[in-house]
């Protein structure tokens, strides 16, 4: 709480409780809305602060609230061993739980340009084993991002683009999921980086031009996070 208050002083009163669920007290068992690892304006001009604030405090919050509501109903249904109610709750659990999982990964997949070790660099490239694996799989980072962007731009309606680790082939893959389907629970692929291509992720700024958003977002992608996830996944 103290760190939230400290960062609130820095960022202003509207962010005072951004690390805590806004709909009443979060119980020990409930999902909580995470705090962003940076301020709302930290990713500008790639992603404007208005989008970041609405994306976290409205969209992500709605998934957290929705999941906690569905979970409470599930506990009731379990107590009564009501299979009809239990099965009926699955889509709400998947949608809202997936929404939370995906956005929690997304916030960490992004990093402010000012946090990079080499200021003035346009983007922070991957390094170490992940960089080697990207080159081995796609030949170059540019080829990888071109293919990623094509896949992400091609998602019909709402969904996500992922750089993923396949634990069976022990290789890297580009994957997409629809709506809020979470990658690992639905495909067994392990997410290293995620990019939200729901219209709410970019529309206020990029309007209908999703390809422009995808072109720009590489300037704020957190390759260190991806590298850490790759190290953890490939160790198993």
């Amino acid at each position: 709480m103290l760190s939230c208050a400290a960062s609130a002083v820095r960022s202003g009163p509207s962010t005072l409780f951004r690390g805590v669920g806004l709909r009443g007290m979060a119980t020990g068992q409930d999902l909580k809305l995470p705090a962003l690892p940076y301020d709302y304006d930290a990713l500008a001009p790639v992603i404007i602060p208005e989008i970041m604030e609405i994306h976290l405090t409205k969209h992500h919050q709605a998934y957290v609230t929705g999941f906690n509501n569905a979970l409470a109903q599930l506990k009731d249904a379990e107590a009564k061993t009501d299979p009809s109610a239990i099965v009926g709750l699955q889509s709400a659990l998947k949608f809202n739980g997936g929404g939370h999982i995906n956005h929690a990964i997304f916030w960490k997949s992004l990093i402010p340009p000012k946090a990079w070790p080499a200021p003035g660099r346009e983007f922070q490239p991957p390094s170490g084993p992940l960089e080697e694996q990207i080159k081995a799989t796609w030949g170059s980072l540019d080829t990888f991002t071109a293919k990623f962007n094509a896949a992400a731009a091609g998602v019909q309606g709402s969904g996500w683009g992922w750089l993923a680790y396949n634990p069976e082939t022990k290789g890297l893959q580009i994957a997409t999921t629809a709506n809020q389907d979470p990658l690992q629970p639905t495909t067994k692929l392990i997410p290293l980086l995620g990019v939200d291509v729901w219209e709410h992720a970019y529309y206020l700024q990029y309007k209908n031009v999703r390809p422009d958003y995808l072109k720009e977002i590489w300037k704020v992608i957190n390759w260190k996070e991806a590298g850490d996830r790759f190290a953890a996944a490939s160790k198993v």
Binding site: Q156, G157, S158, A178, Q180, W198, E199, H200, K207, N208
Partner: protein, 231 residues
């Protein structure tokens, strides 16, 4: 506002080589083999008059871009029509141009065939998204109007709504529930089912109730609402 509508008549010339199996002469050259000679016929040219639409076109809005203010703002209407809907038109035309079987179909028939799977499989997804998107938005512009132009349903529609839902308010509640609970992108619909009932339903992405076979509830849409975030 630009008008893109155009139809043209194409004179198609088909050159057909006609060979006939008759008359022919059968020669028995031995107990186990026969030889058939056919009298060759001259090549005949066939001329076929074909009238077809060049392609689908973006329809004009029935009103100005600012006509739905303050409920739907001008910028949203402009981008929605000139970018999103235009993209569906461009894309569906690109697909249809490659398949002569698809050419000349009206948009409703195209969507019905999409629903039945009676379209080439390698473009079925592209057709579903873009043929659906084009019909959906064409319909959408028509079922909206300047706020001063509407005072709710009347006549037979009102009677049918009251019979099916109890009241117009009850319909709105049910419709809005369908719209807000549609996960991801999609549409909410009021349809007349094949059995003649008024029912509220919703579809994902650019699916629509004309595409029977692909949707939970098929029917003829009476009202539709775009719940994609771009709307």
């Amino acid at each position: 506002m630009n008008s893109y509508s155009m139809t043209s008549t194409l004179l198609k010339m088909k050159l057909t080589k006609v060979t006939s199996m008759v008359p022919s002469t059968v020669h028995q050259t031995s107990p186990h083999s026969i030889r058939v000679t056919r009298t060759p016929r001259p090549i005949r040219a066939r001329f076929t008059l074909v009238t077809q639409a060049m392609s689908f076109s973006l329809p004009d809005l029935p009103y100005a871009y600012d006509a739905l203010e303050p409920f739907v703002d001008t910028q949203t209407m402009t981008i929605h029509h000139t970018k999103h809907h235009q993209t569906y038109v461009t894309n569906v035309n690109n697909v249809v141009a490659k398949y002569s079987d698809l050419q000349g179909l009206d948009l409703v028939e195209l969507n019905k065939r999409i629903g039945k799977g009676e379209v080439p499989s390698d473009v079925s997804t592209a057709l579903r998204n873009n043929g659906g998107g084009h019909w959906n938005h064409t319909f959408f512009w028509k079922i909206m109007t300047n706020p001063s132009n509407t005072s709710g349903p009347g006549g037979k529609l009102k009677q049918a709504i009251e019979a099916s839902f109890g009241s117009v308010d009850a319909l709105k509640e049910k419709f809005n529930a369908a719209a807000t609970t549609r996960f991801g992108s999609g549409w909410a619909w009021l349809v007349v089912t094949p059995e003649g009932k008024l029912v509220v339903t919703s579809t994902p992405n650019q699916d629509n109730p004309l595409q029977a076979g692909l949707v939970d509830q098929a029917g003829t849409p009476v009202l539709g609402l775009d719940v994609w975030e771009h709307a």
